[in-house]
Symmetry: C2
């Protein structure tokens, strides 16, 4: 009686150390009908990375060609490498009724939410700054100065959280995951995404 | 870091025989922080019904006074008895941070969704008309003519489903409940209902 024809685009952002990657991985292994967005990059593949699964690995020349063709919703230069979101990947999935999950920074999320106006934005907050500092220090991958830089960036990112439709606080992983997952399920029941048949 | 100060008003409607009452009861016994809206009625209490829990039982004179005072968001006359939704009940609960669940017909839902513009509407569909007919016949409380009348009303109600934010199909109770419950959890994470502190 009720039909949904198109998949939904979910855009997830969070400051570094908030547990975004963990939440996204849990979701993808738990929920059916959703796939992770595969981006283009000019960075060389790392050990174990597979072309077409982790990234579409392309040359800088190919990347510039993709920009020219309008195939990238957004792109960015990070430490000398280009990264870009593929329109054709996203649109093929959603037109087949599959949802797409994008794990992306606030700048990229802004472009995507502007371009795909029916996309759903989710921002994940740490419980507090003190807790975020503790997590980053515990991770041990950053110098004290780098931790402070990450915290400053986190503050700036959180100030852009208004553009996201949902906010999750990752204070306790299992609890945060219940809230996170509920968003994906609930959005599938939004009347605007559905059509009634046989009335 | 994130705070929600006001509760959310959830308005649930469904054609008779769709399983709305079951879903609402499951939710209220499963989820914390949500209460059932207590309405006014001029009908006499049935056995076991408690004033202030099931209904606020009032005289017709008192009911007319409530209308005059503007205390009712909506009201209706059903089989000679008045039923009305209490503004003060709802507003006291949501200002204390409690969510309120209203189980109400499409006419009443329309008024409430118009009056409380941040309320959330959920409409529950049967899997099909044939299945709805089977369920109503199986219930055995209606004559064949009454079943046909209910089906006609159901069709009319479904045509008003557009005003609801979410649509649930009750094809399989456990599955429908997961979708139903997710809406209540997800709405609590809507950024528009939250404020960030300490940024």
């Amino acid at each position: 009686m009720i039909k949904r024809e198109r998949g939904i685009i979910f855009v997830v952002s969070a400051p570094s150390g908030t547990g975004k990657t963990t939440l996204c991985k849990m979701l993808l292994s738990d929920l059916e009908g959703i796939v992770f967005s595969v981006s283009y990059t000019t960075r060389p593949p790392r050990k174990g990375e597979v072309n077409g699964r982790d990234y579409f690995f392309v040359s800088e020349e190919e990347f510039r060609e993709l920009i020219k063709k309008g195939e990238l919703v957004e792109y960015a230069l990070v430490y000398g490498n280009f990264y870009g979101t593929s329109k054709s990947f996203i649109e093929e999935k959603i037109s087949n009724g599959l949802d797409v999950l994008l794990d992306i920074d606030v700048q990229g999320a802004k472009r995507i939410l502007e371009y795909y106006t029916d996309a759903v934005g989710i921002f994940i907050f740490p419980p507090s700054f003190d807790e975020l500092r503790r997590r980053l220090e515990k991770r041990g991958t950053d110098s004290p100065e780098a931790v402070e830089t990450r915290l400053m960036i986190a503050k700036k990112e959180m100030k852009m959280a208004d553009m996201y439709h949902y906010w999750i606080v990752n204070d306790h992983l299992e609890r945060a995951y219940v809230n996170f997952k509920s968003i994906f399920i609930a959005e599938r029941s939004r009347s605007g995404r559905l059509t009634v048949e046989g009335l």
